[in-house]
């Protein structure tokens, strides 16, 4: 495999230490912030709680959509950035190497230990994560879940495929939809994300 994730992680860590005089971190084509994972977990799971059991599927869908649209814009920015051109582009041999590079960036961002298990071009992506901060956070805040709780990683996994196999940016978002059949928050030993092409695409 051509992608050296450690180089990407190193670049992100170094870049995240450089902010401008306004306290803004411009890196890989986006504005980056560093904040405790507990904030994101509290926000997501308190939102889910406010929506109630009757609207559980709606709240989950909204959190996944927010992440997928974000992942789509973020990783588009990343793959068109100067840093990507200089550091990552030379390592890419196959189109699918972009997915491994996206996953390495996500690891660098502290989202978990993303492990790309399977890619079927234009059809399917499988990513496994044994330490997702969302699953850890849910177990800590709420206890055992009855469904997958890694909404951010679900959305982002779909966005990876959208960027590779959807229509050209910005029209390809939500081409893929991701399920999380296994999640540590519900007692599984790891979280798994399976993105597949949707039969109909909702508008971004």
């Amino acid at each position: 495999m051509a992608i050296d994730g450690s180089k990407i992680i190193h670049a992100v860590m170094e870049g995240s230490r450089i902010r401008d005089a306004k306290g803004i971190i411009p890196l890989f084509g986006v504005y980056l912030s560093l904040f405790f994972v507990q904030y994101y977990n509290k926000l997501s799971f308190d939102f889910e709680n406010e929506m109630g059991r009757e609207r559980q599927s709606e709240s989950a869908a909204l959190l996944v959509e927010a992440a997928q649209e974000c992942g789509y814009a973020t990783f588009h920015g990343i793959r068109t950035s100067r840093e990507w051109e200089e550091l990552v582009r030379p390592m890419i041999e196959l189109k699918e190497d972009q997915i491994f590079s996206f996953a390495a960036v996500a690891v660098a961002f502290g989202w978990g230990d993303l492990d790309v298990r399977e890619i079927i071009p234009k059809e399917k992506l499988v990513i496994r994560v044994s330490d997702s901060y969302e699953a850890t956070g849910y177990l800590h805040l709420r206890g055992l879940a009855n469904s997958g709780k890694c909404y951010m990683l679900r959305g982002v996994s779909g966005a990876f495929m959208d960027l590779l196999y959807g229509e050209d940016y910005p029209d390809g978002c939500f081409t893929f939809r991701t399920e999380e059949p296994f999640c540590r928050a519900k007692g599984d030993s790891y979280c798994e994300f399976i993105a597949r092409k949707t039969s109909f695409k909702r508008r971004a």
């Binding site: 306004k22 560093l34 507990q38 939102f47 406010e50 690891v107």
Partner: protein, 174 residues
């Protein structure tokens, strides 16, 4: 004066990114602003409250953890300086604690991640929108002045998301 060793405080332990012993994540403006807009659009004022409370609680415990590693930082002025430095080093923006005391005061922010992100994605707002910053301010001041959580209310009097010159926060005891 360099009060903290940022190189030491921001580190990696395996795949985790750690700030002063607590796990953090790097997220960009797309995600932070998407979350805010989704919450505001879906549940209105309740969503605004969730944003405030999450930022308040987490900044409270985050700063408390941070200061526990630096016992030599004792004065209120130094603690506020550390908080401001963390805010800036985390890419959250610039926060000036100039007219603040044990019972509240005013704080000015000339720039922030959320303002930059909101304007880039959605343009001018009609209402103040720095809910994260308000919560962050409340939690930090509660930690610095040894007050319990939810001691302070923070109102945004001016907001750069509305194209004001700066964000201005009024802090009062509840």
């Amino acid at each position: 004066m360099m009060l903290i060793n940022w190189e030491h405080e921001l580190d990696r332990v395996g795949h985790r990114v750690i700030l002063s012993g607590l796990p953090i994540a790097m997220h960009c403006h797309h995600y932070n602003i998407n979350l805010q807009k989704m919450l505001e659009d879906t549940i209105g004022e309740t969503g605004v409250r969730l944003l405030f409370e999450a930022a308040e609680e987490v900044s409270f415990y985050g700063l408390t953890s941070f200061l526990s590693h630096y016992s030599r930082i004792k004065t209120i002025k130094s603690k506020l300086e550390v908080a401001s430095t963390i805010y800036q080093n985390c890419g959250l923006g610039v926060m000036h604690f100039q007219k603040i005391g044990n019972r509240g005061g005013t704080i000015v922010s000339p720039s922030s991640h959320h303002v930059t992100g909101w304007l880039a994605k959605h343009g001018k707002r009609e209402t103040p929108g720095c809910h994260f910053a308000r919560g962050w301010v409340a939690g930090v001041l509660e930690a610095v002045y040894n007050h319990p959580l939810h001691h302070f209310a923070v109102e945004e009097l001016a907001c750069k998301m509305m194209r004001h010159d700066e964000c201005k926060f009024l802090v009062k005891e509840r």
